[in-house]
Amino acid sequence: MLISYNWLRELTGTTSTPREFRERLTMVGLAIDAVDELEDDSILDVEVPSNRPDCLSHIGIAREVSVIEKSKFSDPQAEISNLKYKVPRTEGKASDFTSVEIKDLDLCPRYAARIVRGVKIGPSPAWLAQRLGALGQRPINNVADITNYVLHELGQPLHAFDLAKLTEQRIIVRRAKAGEQLKTLDGVERTLDAQMLVIADAKLPVALAGIMGGEASEISEATTDVLIESAYFNPDSVRRTARQLGMDTEASRRFERGADCENVLKAQTRCVELICEIAGGVATEDAIDVYPAPLPARTVDFRPAKVESITSLRVDLSEMMRILTALGFTSGESAKGNTLTFAVPSWRADVSIEEDLVEEIARHVGYEKIASELPPSNVSGEYQPTEMKQRSLRRALKDAGFDEAINFSFIDTAHDEQFELIPGLVAEANNVGFVALKNPIIDEATRMRPTLLPGLLESVRHNLNHGIRDVRLFEIGRVFAKSDTGELPNERDALALIATGGATEEGRAQATREFDFYELKGALEAGVEAMKLGPLGFAGDSIKHLREGQSAPIYLPDGTKLGSIGRLSEAIAASYKFRQPIYVAELDLTALLESRECATQYKPLPRYPSVVRDVTLLVSRDVAFQQLRNAVDSEHIADYSGTKLVGTYEGQSIPEGKRSVTLRIEYRSDERTLRDEEVEERHRALIDSLVKKFHAELH
């Protein structure tokens, strides 16, 4: 909202400089974004809060200034009612020349029309053109310029019609008929819908109510009689229509936020007076003012003590009264004890409760005068229950070389059927209801993501496209699916990892290695271990989006399925044009965090040395390490204390379909040092059993 400093000075008699205004108005809630220094004026760009349409005018700002400066300001409105603005020459009744009918009172509670006959249309006088010019408004002709002038002065949008061009000289305020056409003043032919309010003559729409006039009834050089419209239109209706048609005008901006219904006649009088003075002509004695249901006067009960209890400011009652009165509030007698009742001025639709008045007082006393202190505290802070675990997880993954990613929550629907979703999100994997956005902002991103993987794959693609081939990312975020009950969608927190390229840091004194399945599994295990959860279980199985034979579902110790891990399937990799293997994992973090924490329990250090025996078995490739270890565990050998992997080998000298697995078996007693011979005997028995069970050969 642009405000002319000169105009403001005329209204308030202020001596403050534009620079001082900048600071002062900002501190009462009217932030000045910029001050534009013109040759003989300064223009303040005021950021008016959306609840203060009254400040979208020079008198609105002048009123605030007068409160700040404790000065009187010459309120043109007040003076209209004092009949200072007397329309010089009047003749006849408005109803002699026109008629007004409001068909849709819900969208237009008040409409006033007044006629000025015999005007001489021409350019505006210099002072008027200059004043509008300073506010960035191009002068049009004297009558149009005057309506704009009054808009800037009093905040009431007005419109002037060429009376002769209105069919039957009638005004009908009604909703448009669906498909009805109107060419607006900007030359655009507009197609209207049945929700839009128009001003029509006996036949056709002549203006888009509260937004813009129509070309057909525009004032021209030939115009002699004008109809001045001053009305109040429903803010929601104006907003809806303006948005629908992509319009934003000085008028619509004011009506949208709420004009002053009681300002309708005053502004019209002011306008007519200026027209008679500048463009000549004779006005009608009165206006047709259709206002069947005047808005009731509003009052607010106010307890002055509330100012201190809400703001901590101590303000004298006289100062409170001064501020409220200067802002236009009028107090009746103190009705009950400590309560004052204030009548709310018609232009302050934003004020309806006591707290609103407290704010009026506080902002004019100054927020800077409010003390600054911490509230007394008798509570202790608390993190979310899983926050510390999540922090451990994030740091463990970071230590494993993963960067944390954050992607948008909405993705392309093209990914809908590609991925197996985490089990906690949907009851039945083959019957997923996806959550869709009705009004996406990014084309195609209409799906609320049911999986984090498409986002991460996109991130990998972005990095590869920028020449970065080593990428490791993890993301923790919400995933969504429809709930079975049709209520709010299911939301779960998921953890996903993705990695590709080198496993080692490049450019260092070390051999390089490519990222593989076991790197990803190790990172995930490290992350889970850092939370004292798990250990996770993995079993070979096929997963929709993963490559057969290099993928596994992930389980909690109690057997609950959490998600999956493995190498991205060829089909998906090809669709992204990935030429290097991509490894991904995704699991239900919500379920993982709800799982049981591993207790930390001290175990005495071994008192006797252990005896270690390695055994290398040649087994079929489908014999999993896990099976071998479970088999050893289940032998229940005396003094057996554990099995570790030493290594696996396949290739040269190993027959096809086989691989060699070397296990390290540890024996230890808590009572004594074991003798070699007794271990040897048990170990041999164990090996015999393994050989038999797995059709293995010793290697």
Partner: protein, 380 residues
């Protein structure tokens, strides 16, 4: 006891040893020089051509020399036998004989030991040389990952507020209109509700446009008094550009108790900003408008870059706009089941992304969600 010997009897043996030494010493005689003497090296190269490297030659020469030493003056050498036999010499000649044998020991032993010593030094020097490493090669270490800057800031904000006695809360990201708007005193026709500004699902639910939704749930669950902050992801329908994202992160705070006033709001926000941006930070409150607070205030803080003098970051104003705040609107308290006649409270909100931009000087906030490794690696 064998018969006594005369000194004369030993002399030929002394001479014989000396002769052997002189004959074999020829090959080693330059090694009594300092090992860095060019003649030393020249000689080594000339005599031990077989070795691959100078080090090999030196090792070989030293081994050979050691064998010679053992042969000539070792425990089983002729010289050792001679020393024993000195005891059998007639008493009056024993002194001279002993002297002569000792002289021989010195005459042979000293150069042998000196040469061995010099060869060892050369070997040490060459070994050190060959095992020298380039200490400027970049150190070996595992790849290091990085936390997202939003995470780092969120954790820091949480730490500060937990320290001030606040509970951290989070809730749903898809909400009903009641929690996203109605309970926050946002009227039916408020522009924020329009589908231009808020995302809706096809089932008519809203993607939360502020985490105030969490406050309502928390008040309903915890009742009053309550102190909490809700950091989280929120959505507004902005087209992505260098200064907008349709998704961002914010923190909303709430403190409801008996006797809470704007002074407490100011004190809390100012204390937070001091802990966040440093003890010199000054906070400024300006009147503003939000439907869910009354009175409402925006807060600015003195620019952490220039200290309030004016710079690019604060657009020369010395102040940086950071967030909105105010006293919780009585309608909001009521919607959450808290009696506004008994309790009052303040609320505030600020953007984590915005803080991130300010602190790291980002020129394009889309980078926050592109996950470019070159971007992420710059933090933490």
């Amino acid at each position: 006891m064998t018969a006594e010997l005369n000194f004369e009897d030993l002399k030929p043996r002394v001479n014989a040893i000396q002769e052997v030494f002189q004959q074999k010493w020829e090959r080693f005689r330059y090694f009594v020089l300092d090992h860095s003497d060019p003649k030393f090296i020249e000689h080594l190269k000339a005599e031990w051509r077989s070795g691959d490297s100078l080090l090999d030659m030196a090792v070989e020469a030293k081994d050979e020399l050691e064998r010679l030493r053992i042969e000539l003056i070792g425990k089983k050498s002729e010289l050792a036998a001679l020393k024993k036999d000195v005891g059998r010499i007639r008493k009056e000649q024993r002194g001279i004989a002993g002297q002569a044998v000792n002289n021989l020991d010195i005459f042979i032993g000293n150069p042998l030991r000196d040469a061995e010593d010099q060869l060892q030094r050369l070997i040490n020097k060459l070994r050190t040389e060959s095992e020298r490493i380039d200490v400027t090669l970049p150190g070996r270490r595992p790849r290091r990952g990085h936390l997202h800057p939003i995470t780092m800031l969120r954790e820091r904000i949480e730490d500060i507020f937990v320290g001030l006695g606040y509970a951290i809360e989070d809730g749903r990201e898809i909400e009903t209109d009641f929690y996203n708007f109605d309970a926050l005193n946002i009227p039916e026709n408020h522009p924020a509700r329009a589908s231009q500004d808020t995302f809706y699902t096809t089932d008519g639910f809203a993607l939360r446009s502020q985490t105030s939704t969490v406050q309502i749930h928390a008040m309903q669950r915890r009742g009053a008094p309550v102190r909490m902050i809700a950091p989280g992801r929120v959505f507004r329908r902005d087209t992505p550009d260098p200064t907008h994202n349709p998704m961002f992160f914010q923190v909303e705070g709430l403190c409801v108790d008996r006797g809470i006033s704007m002074a407490h709001l100011k004190g809390t926000v100012a204390e937070f900003l001091r802990r966040m941006f440093g003890p010199e930070t000054v906070t400024r409150f300006r009147p503003s408008y939000f439907p869910f607070t009354e009175p409402s205030a925006e807060f600015d803080f003195s620019c952490f870059k220039c200290g309030g003098v004016g710079c690019r970051i604060c657009k020369n104003s010395g102040w940086i706009e950071l967030g909105g705040s105010g006293m919780v609107h009585p309608n909001v308290l009521r919607a959450a089941g808290v009696d506004p006649d008994v309790y009052s409270g303040f609320a505030f909100g600020l953007g984590i992304d915005r803080m991130c931009n300010l602190m790291y000087g980002l020129d394009d906030i889309r980078l926050l969600f592109e996950n470019d490794v070159r971007f992420l690696e710059q933090f933490d």
